[in-house]
Amino acid sequence: MNPLVTPSFGLLFWQVVTFLVVLLLLSKFAWKPIMAALREREENIDAALSMAEKAKLEMQALKADNERLLNEARAERERILKEATEAANHLVESARAKATEEGQRMIEQARVSIVNEKKAALTEVKNLAATLSIDIAEKLIRRELQDEQAQRALVQSYLQETHLS
């Protein structure tokens, strides 16, 4: 038989022994720790990745929360501002109305008092006129009693003196 395809006994023996020893030693001291380390690292990476994913989700939730809070705050501010404006407007409006009313009232009062004053003044004038008339009449009567001529002149002079308003 061709020597190439004839397995020699010695090599067979050494190959079996060596290969089994290599298999045993490498399995125990190399493959076992290597495979364990690889598996552990993969698990770590997996855990880290899922944790990152979770953190991302949490982050998103937090962000959404913040957004919501912010929106709420913004709406609140809007509302408060609106209310304040309304209140201010209302205040101004009522103040203005009050002022107008007060003015109106004061004008009315003034008008009333003017009318009253006018009435009083007129009454006084009338009274004065009446008094004057009575005085004149008295003096006239008195003069007439003394001298006719003089009485007439007096009446004339009085009449000239007196300016009926």
């Binding site: 397995p7 067979l12 050494w14 290969f19 290599v22 490498l26 001291f29 720790p33 690889l38």
Partner: protein, 361 residues
């Protein structure tokens, strides 16, 4: 890189030249090539640089251990020693006149007889070197994993980690399935053993270990034994009671069980022959290309020869990895077949084709 190549080629050429001298006369490429790819009792790196290896014999005279250099005299001629004689790469008992002792065997053919030969031959020595290398490399890596726990790989660790992961993910996981873990030590060992030895065989002066039928025989036998002993009920069921086969082919004329049983052995047999033939063929081609220079006895053929040999060397570097991959992959597939759990589904006479299994899952 260039320097390494030039060195490689000069050494290879040199050792090819060296093979010429013992013949003394005409250069015989066949003998030179057979000498290079075969086993030897000495490690012949180059002419004048020969490492005699220990010869270990067990036979009529008990255990005998001596150096292989005893078989050569001062003129490098073969001589008998201590009642043993070396003839055509084998050691036999010597007659008084120094010829191998012969006896007629059971078939009536006269053949030389010798002791059991446990010698540390060139191949065994080369295997020890590769084993030392394997231990050195992978113990270092294992240490690095302990020291560098949970961190990114570095140095030699980062070179081998993708390969280990490749063996695990693409060879073991895909072909064996969920039970891949118990086969990982064997698959990794066999992958790196073959790859390292393939590469060592390409080193000038290296031995053709993975191109030796004894080595591939043992490796294939390991795969066979592991397959057979990890075979589950469904594996044996598929062999002796193949689903989807008419009953008369199983119980009437037992062709299918016969074919399946032969298949158990042909699978590892193909593993053995494939590795052996691929590696040996690569060595023969490279050596033949160098032999051309000496056949034509012309320096002009040198550049052409060297160019082809360089190309072949690169191809062999690839083949070294490829054959390790194929051996491991096929082993994993056989293991996968042995441990696969088949769902009990009606196969409608289509047999357990992979697509049917895939569809059922």
């Amino acid at each position: 890189m260039k320097k390494i190549l030039v060195y490689l080629l000069t050494v290879l050429t040199f050792s090819a030249q060296a093979a010429e001298s013992p013949e003394g006369g005409k250069f015989s490429p066949g003998d030179m090539i057979m000498h290079h790819i075969g086993d030897d009792y000495t490690w012949h790196f180059a002419d004048g640089l020969v490492l005699p290896l220990p010869v270990i014999l067990y036979g009529e005279k008990g255990l005998d251990v001596f150096s292989a250099s005893n078989f050569y005299n001062a003129q490098h001629e073969v001589q008998p020693y201590n009642g043993y004689v070396m003839d055509h790469g084998h050691i036999y008992y010597a007659n008084q006149d120094g010829t191998p002792r012969t006896q007629v065997n059971a078939e009536g053919v006269e053949e030389p007889v010798g002791p059991l030969d446990f010698s540390i031959t060139k191949n065994v020595a080369s295997m020890f070197v590769s084993v030392l290398l394997l231990f050195l490399v992978f113990m270092t890596i294992a240490g690095a994993y302990k020291k560098n726990r949970g961190r990114a790989p570095r140095g030699i660790q980062s070179f081998f980690e993708p390969i280990i992961l490749f063996v695990r993910d693409d060879i073991a996981k895909t072909n064996i399935g969920p039970k891949y873990q118990r086969f990982m030590p064997y698959l990794l060992t066999v992958f790196f053993f073959i790859w390292f030895n393939n590469l060592l065989g390409l080193v000038p002066g290296g031995a053709n270990l993975t191109g030796n039928i004894a080595v591939t025989l043992v490796l294939a036998l390991m795969t066979l034994l592991i397959t057979v002993f990890s075979g589950n009920k469904s594996y044996w069921g598929h062999i002796f009671n193949t689903p989807g086969v008419p009953w008369w082919l199983k119980w009437g004329i037992p062709i299918m069980p016969l074919v399946e049983v032969i298949g158990i052995f042909t699978k590892p047999f193909s593993l053995m022959v494939r590795l052996f033939a691929n590696i040996t063929a690569g060595h023969i081609i490279i050596l033949s290309l160098f032999s051309l220079i000496f056949i034509f006895e012309s320096i002009a053929i040198g550049p052409l020869s060297v160019a082809f040999a360089v190309f072949m060397n690169f191809l062999e570097l690839f083949v070294a990895l490829l054959q390790a991959y194929i051996f491991t992959l096929l082993s994993a597939m056989y293991f996968g077949g042995a441990v696969e759990e088949h769902d009990h589904h009606p196969d409608l006479g289509h047999g357990d084709a992979p697509h049917a299994v895939a569809a059922a899952h």
